[in-house]
């Protein structure tokens, strides 16, 4: 048996054209942490069977597939994170000047994700961002994306033995699900009976996958699993940095954006994080042991920051419940050779209010405003938050 170091693992992503139709992910994102798992929600069978022990069996409840991905926000992979959480508008620009991708509040795309563990892969499909948190970790912009998904394939077992020469299909056991092959795609490579085969068909019955005639000998119950890809990175980009991020405050979005346009008018922040919750409902329904659909519920957002205390203005705004527009502009590397265009992330909060403000006194420390802002819907602008991302990735990737 082999053991595997996590450093060789990868996260691969690709948007799907339909919620329940997986694809083979082709964009590889350097991972920091991953914790996506299948919650089978087993519970002890507590029927009265004359036992003097709690139970002799576990039974399945509704299944959920969820967990977190932690990555640095580089200009290209951030596009995928935003695309999972928000509605993408039309991309403009070109490879010379950079592509501008606008995102607004709306349904994010469903994604196929693949995470490798050693030589094995976990395929998650129908994945969307339930929560997107952006923060700075020692100057580097990082993101924690909480994922919910419709299904997965990692490993199953043989339902029908394979008996040697001329094998062309594998029938998977339905112990996990009545459709255990969901998540597999033509072109995937699975290992069965110690032999690697490339799938040429995934049967609509959800249990059978086909491949070119191969000699395989394997017994009922033998493990069948998806093999990992060799990762390929389009670029190992730097993340956005706190040091290249400006935050502007204003009475409205226009004033906040103007303030964020220059270091002289921006507000120095010593810590900054923001998060957006989609509050997805992974709704169970008849015909699906896992979630049948991921439904958006009411969305919300928050912005937390710390800045040096200078005067009681923020306390006055907190006490009087005054609104403030905030614009965050993070600048990355230059794109155009004459240095006139750059990678850029712009987040516009059209209306925020202080839901919490602390100005704690600690001996030997400067006094800070520690602000927690609720991101509110601006009825006059008819929007709460917008994003614009400028990078080197064409719109077709999202």
């Amino acid at each position: 048996m082999s053991n595997f170091l996590a450093d060789s693992s990868y996260l691969a992503v690709k948007p799907q054209s339909a919620a329940a139709t997986p694809v083979i992910p082709t964009d590889f994102v350097p991972l920091i942490e991953e914790s996506i798992r299948v919650n089978a929600n087993y519970a002890a069978d507590r029927r009265m069977k004359g036992l003097s022990w709690k139970s002799d069996e576990l039974l399945k409840a509704n299944r959920t597939i969820e967990g977190d991905l932690r990555v640095y926000c580089d200009p290209d992979n951030l596009g995928h994170l935003l695309n999972m959480a928000f509605a993408k508008g039309s991309t403009t620009g070109d490879a010379t000047d950079g592509y501008t991708h606008p995102f607004t509040v709306g349904d994010g795309k469903h994604y196929s994700l693949e995470v490798s563990r050693g030589e094995f892969a976990t395929r998650i499909f129908g994945a969307r961002a339930d929560r997107l948190r952006i923060e700075f970790e020692e100057n580097k912009m990082a993101s924690v994306v909480s994922i919910k998904a419709l299904g997965q394939f990692q490993a199953a077992s043989l339902a029908v033995a394979l008996t040697g020469a001329g094998m062309t299909e594998v029938v998977l056991s339905t112990d996990y699900d009545l459709r255990p092959a969901d998540g597999l795609v033509v072109g995937d490579v699975i290992r069965v009976g110690g032999v690697d085969v490339t799938l040429t068909s995934v049967n609509a019955n959800g249990t059978t996958v086909g491949f070119a005639s191969t000699s395989i000998t394997a017994s009922v119950g033998d493990t069948v699993y998806l093999l990992a890809q060799t990762p390929s990175f389009s670029a190992l980009q730097e993340p956005f940095y706190m040091g290249n991020t400006l935050v502007g405050f204003g009475d409205d979005e226009s004033a906040a954006t103007t303030a964020a346009g220059a270091r002289a008018t921006a507000v120095p922040c010593y810590d900054l994080s923001t998060e957006f919750m989609q509050n997805l409902l992974d709704a169970p329904a008849s015909g699906a042991t896992g979630p049948s659909v991921l439904l958006n519920q009411t969305r919300e957002g928050a912005l937390e920051l710390r800045r040096l205390f200078e005067d009681p203005e923020q306390m006055q705004k907190y006490l009087e419940n005054k609104e403030t527009a905030v614009t965050l502009i993070a600048t990355g590397r230059h794109i155009k050779s004459d240095l006139t265009t750059s990678e850029l992330l712009t987040i516009k909060y059209f209306r925020t209010k202080l839901v919490d403000l602390e100005e704690p006194l600690n001996v030997g420390e400067y006094i800070y405003d520690a602000e927690t802002r609720e991101v509110l819907y601006d009825s006059s602008e008819a929007k709460a938050v917008t994003f614009a991302l400028v990078n080197r990735t064409a719109g077709g990737s999202y």
Partner: protein, 56 residues
Amino acid sequence: MPKYLNASDRALWIPGIGKVEPGGQISAPEGFRNANFTKVVPKKEDPTKDPDKKAV
């Protein structure tokens, strides 16, 4: 070792192999799997077009 072609529209960097331009080829061990690459199948030689070989 088999050859693989970068079928994507981007230059790709592969750990342990290096950077491959779009349309570029690499030699990789059997078992290389990446959805951005396609395996290059060597063309069979046509003996009638080889001046050193005469069709029988």
